[in-house]
Subunit: 470 residues, 2 copies
Amino acid sequence: MTLTTPVAHGAETGRVDLASLVDQLPAGTLLTDPASTARYSHDEAEWAPWALPLAVARPATSEQVRTIVRWCVAHEVPVVPRGAGTGLSGGANSVSGGIVVSFERMAAVTRIDPVERLAVVQPGVVNDDLRAAVAEHGLWYPPDPASSPWSTIGGNVATNAGGVCCVKYGVTGDYVLALEVVTGTGELVRVGRETAKGVAGYDLVSLLVGSEGTLGLVTEITVRLRPARPAEQTVVGFFDSLVAAGEAVAAVARAGTVPSALELLDRHCLTAVNDWKDLGIEADCEAILLARLDGPGAAGVAEAEAVLAAFEGAGATFAARSEDESEADAMFAARRLAYPALERLGPVLTEDVCVPVGRVAAMLAAVQEIARRHDVLIANIAHAGDGNLHPLIITPAGDDEARVRAQHAFDDIIVEALACGGTVTGEHGVGLLKRAGLAAELPLAVVEMHRAIRRALDPHGVLNPGKVVT
Amino acid sequence: MTLTTPVAHGAETGRVDLASLVDQLPAGTLLTDPASTARYSHDEAEWAPWALPLAVARPATSEQVRTIVRWCVAHEVPVVPRGAGTGLSGGANSVSGGIVVSFERMAAVTRIDPVERLAVVQPGVVNDDLRAAVAEHGLWYPPDPASSPWSTIGGNVATNAGGVCCVKYGVTGDYVLALEVVTGTGELVRVGRETAKGVAGYDLVSLLVGSEGTLGLVTEITVRLRPARPAEQTVVGFFDSLVAAGEAVAAVARAGTVPSALELLDRHCLTAVNDWKDLGIEADCEAILLARLDGPGAAGVAEAEAVLAAFEGAGATFAARSEDESEADAMFAARRLAYPALERLGPVLTEDVCVPVGRVAAMLAAVQEIARRHDVLIANIAHAGDGNLHPLIITPAGDDEARVRAQHAFDDIIVEALACGGTVTGEHGVGLLKRAGLAAELPLAVVEMHRAIRRALDPHGVLNPGKVVT
């Protein structure tokens, strides 16, 4: 069997022969027909460029991943790693002539150790599946991106994914102890440790986490776990402006209380969810804040009272501790459904800026002004407690002019976030959509440090080329 | 003024003229007479090699640090950064012909922000001084190495220092948000962010933390803070063997309780402290465990009861919750005094291995066997709750044969720790003393990744040469 396909990268002949790779892998590992590969050609960043890949590889072992990377190095073919494709920045978008490596066949929870409080997993394990598996041992894996029912730990590691409980418990990277990785030179290595502490050499684990496949392909992840935590209290606040809600977020921080969730939804999100699913949520306000508190026993109640007081002090039109668990769950379900509910209105360009907590109100005001200036609909959901805002720019399907205006709004939000002392991406990653933002955020000398590290670890330039920094 | 001094590194002439550096710095910044420079020639790793430096620089600003590094790059002169000199691995040991950069004149707490819960400090700030400064705002900087009354935040960052509360709250790196750094090419840059989250580019902050001055000179640190925490409960357990104490540590982990401290001291430490200071501590046992628990209110009491039960279940000869705060403080004072108390008996070679919590008992047994085999006195203190053991090998002053036996014991402990799935350094760093251990721990391909990154960020090879990895 000989497969030949045009190549856009590296190989000077312009053509590359896949047969020598096919021969080294079990039958069925490689997909090459466009009907099959199209499904792997991009993540959810549909505004970012992508191309059909040369092939899609679905390895079942770390050694097969190594085989693929070595072949790609030898043939100067780009490698694009892919989890569940739920990314929002284009990090998994395929490039012409490249090989997409999907980890769908590497989805085992290999080990759970309740004494060391760690788990060893393959990259294709779905986030919620890991959470369920460790819960059986009385353990908890905190990182909880909104995509947790679908996204994989490998993808979470690639983007250093955040989530709802990060405001108290940190992000994916805070839970990664060790990685098995295929390097840019085709070596299969382990970095990190299984001990609680360790400083033997550079922190290569943290360097790889969030590197979006540009410094290595992760083939196994050792994650740190926590003991199961107490039940949460919920506090809801209604506000008649986004700015008032933003001020309440700063008031919570000032009170010295650390909630286990502090989420914001605006009226557009509530309306879209109510129009789609009947969750019975009162939406007669401009924004709601949803706080959760998980201090044990009386301490949790005291935390909830402190947050309630902060909401009321910041001018909430209504605020209450939820006594009804199903009502609280409905509120958080609405937060999770906001993105798909808004997508029903048209293509959504998703922002992901993060600003200091004290600047949330100012940033929300700026987003509203930007929406007016560019005549676009911008809905807001936010991990408000850590200043991570997701303005969602929605354009009517097929309206090319609106799309141009949306792009201008997207760019202006980035400028405003940087002016607030923020970052262009809080948790989604740079991928393709935030490359210009990255260049705006980082001084050239720091970009040069990125390039130097990338050249050092990917000397052949095959690892997810074109992503993050070029 | 012209100063010429032999150079052991780089400059092919073998001589270098300091005058061009003197001219660029305020008077008094450089020390060159051996009587002055000798005090800066090594840290507390007196067993590791060191040499008198060409000069000691005491810059007062980041720009002066940049001036020094640029001069060193131009003249191929090694730069050795130094905090308080309390390091235990030789990371700050001077090299012949090099310039030691001491941060003693850069010791300001520049900013404390209670809303964003962060502080910005110069590298020369002493750990306890930072803790005191933020406590005035109701905030807490957790990392608490035993050296906290003397060691600096810059030094803590260089080694990614641990401490007593790390078992619950993590290490220095978990609290570093951003760094200002002079790079190996003499650029003054900022990496990291002031926001709670951020994934714009590679995690250069984590790469620099723990790199022991080999990837850049840190000139400012932005640290994350926590709200002040509740008062701690103390639980003490006495054990008639080190192994029994080690088993109690695993029992605490199995119980799902996370103490805010879980420290071990053996009989040698208790005796040495009692002989030196009269702290009135009962020492009729082979080992004691000191646990602290800081859950709020009733939760903290329940945690203390769980630890007490774990101690008793593992065979403690006596265990109790301390009702007397001064008694509890005396116990922790003894832990802090153990190292200087033992130093009175002779030179101490300090180990710093870290093993999985379930292997603490086995590792302590192995250390005892190694002491017997090599006929050396080994005392044990440990951050037992995270498996971080500090076997302290003590030799009579001037006994060269004992020194050789001590070195063999040191090497054997490393071998045993690796066999237990551990690491050669939990919190002290590689410096010079653990270079061979690092080579034993890391596969060659991972060492090559270290070298590639080091070459990428220190292309002229001037940053703390000879340390960590060569």
